[in-house]
């Protein structure tokens, strides 16, 4: 079962990372924090690096070393234009998949649960930096 959870997380984690970088640029550690604060899941922090590396290679993410006021320089990542349009497509697909997994919500059932689905990924295109 652990393996199944791992597999599921891996795919979703990539999407969550893109979502975080959509809003603002992050260095590795702050990206981890933004992810754990938002979903409350415990995360083996090192797992973000292979994903960031792959996204960089695909041109969806760009990175830049920035001097820090305290301590060693930080490597900041942000989503490229291609990355943003890729995310827009992926998040639509993700929402469709979510409906597929949960089953089509009947109009009556939706009304009974006013809290709404728990897996909404927030997206704020405006840079908050």
């Amino acid at each position: 079962m652990d393996n199944k959870i791992k597999q599921l997380r891996k795919g979703v984690l990539e999407l969550a990372i893109m979502n975080s970088l959509y809003k603002q640029s992050h260095y590795g550690y702050s990206l981890v924090k933004s992810l754990s604060v938002e979903n409350g899941l415990s995360l083996t922090e090192g797992t973000i690096y292979p994903i960031l590396n792959r996204l960089s290679k695909e041109g969806l993410v760009r990175s830049q070393w920035v001097e820090s006021r305290q301590g060693p320089p930080r490597k900041y990542y942000s989503l490229t234009t291609e990355g943003k349009s890729a995310f827009d497509i992926l998040i639509k697909e993700f929402n469709r998949l979510e409906i597929m997994v949960r089953g089509k919500e009947e109009p009556g059932a939706a009304a009974e649960e006013p809290s709404g689905p728990a897996l909404v990924v927030r997206k704020e295109p405006n840079d908050e930096q």
């Binding site: 260095y27 590795g28 550690y29 702050s30 083996t44 922090e45 090192g46 797992t47 690096y49 292979p50 994903i51 590396n53 792959r54 820090s68 305290q70 301590g71 060693p72 320089p73 930080r74 490597k75």
Partner: protein, 229 residues
């Protein structure tokens, strides 16, 4: 790069980064440095946000525990094929380690080191024998070709010199002797050529084992210090 931590903490961080680099063989030096720098930065940022009232060793171990094993950080960055290659390259070492433990019932301690030394000496002797054979075949074959030729041209050649050469006494005809001599030379040269791989393999074994033992000891120390695998 290490003035950011106290010596004790810096040592643990260094160990971790060395293990990380151990998983990056085959990647360009530049990429290795880039990832090591980035992970170092991560460790720093994470460490300075730890609760300062705790012991600094506990803090750094907690930081590294959350970061995960170096394998986690590098997984995929080499591509699946490279990872596979790395696994294959480790195989002879597992066999060697298994042999040592199987024979002596102890991990790679002093006894293991002595056995390893013995194996290296044995291998070196083998290499020496290998090259001696190659040289003997090449020189013997070449001389055979030369003498046969001379004898062909002047049947009295060998008699004049008093050379008694009977490489293959059954072969009475000169062309057969010539062919045999050519084959010998060819075999000798082929052995020399194949020796390159022999040397490569030897260098690989001699160089890799001590390094692997070092990294295994490191890992054990980290585990002992409370890091989960």
């Amino acid at each position: 790069m290490n003035n950011d931590f106290s010596p004790a903490v810096g040592k643990i961080v260094e160990d971790y980064l060395r293990r990380l680099r151990g998983h990056l063989h085959g990647l360009p030096e530049k990429d290795q440095n880039e990832l090591a720098r980035e992970v170092y930065s991560h460790i720093y940022e994470s460490f300075v946000r730890e609760d300062g009232s705790r012991d600094e060793i506990d803090r750094i171990l907690a930081v590294l525990g959350r970061l995960g094993e170096p394998e986690t950080v590098v997984a995929e960055s080499l591509g699946a094929s490279m990872v596979k290659m790395g696994k294959r390259r480790k195989l002879p070492l597992y066999i060697l380690g298994g042999l040592l433990i199987g024979l002596f019932g102890l991990p790679l301690g002093a006894g293991g080191a002595v056995v390893f030394l013995g194996m290296v000496l044995g291998l070196l002797t083998l290499v020496l024998i290998y090259y001696t054979t190659a040289a003997a075949l090449t020189i013997g074959g070449a001389l055979g070709v030369l003498v046969t030729f001379m004898k062909w041209i002047s049947p009295n050649f060998a008699v004049h010199l008093g050379v008694q050469w009977g490489l293959a006494p059954d072969f009475e005809s000169l062309p057969a002797r010539l062919l045999l001599s050519f084959l010998m030379t060819g075999l000798g040269l082929a052995l020399f050529w194949g020796g390159r791989y022999l040397m490569k393999g030897l260098k690989f074994i001699i160089g890799l084992v001590p390094r692997k033992i070092g990294s295994a000891l490191n890992r054990r120390r980290m585990k002992k210090a409370g890091l989960t695998a």
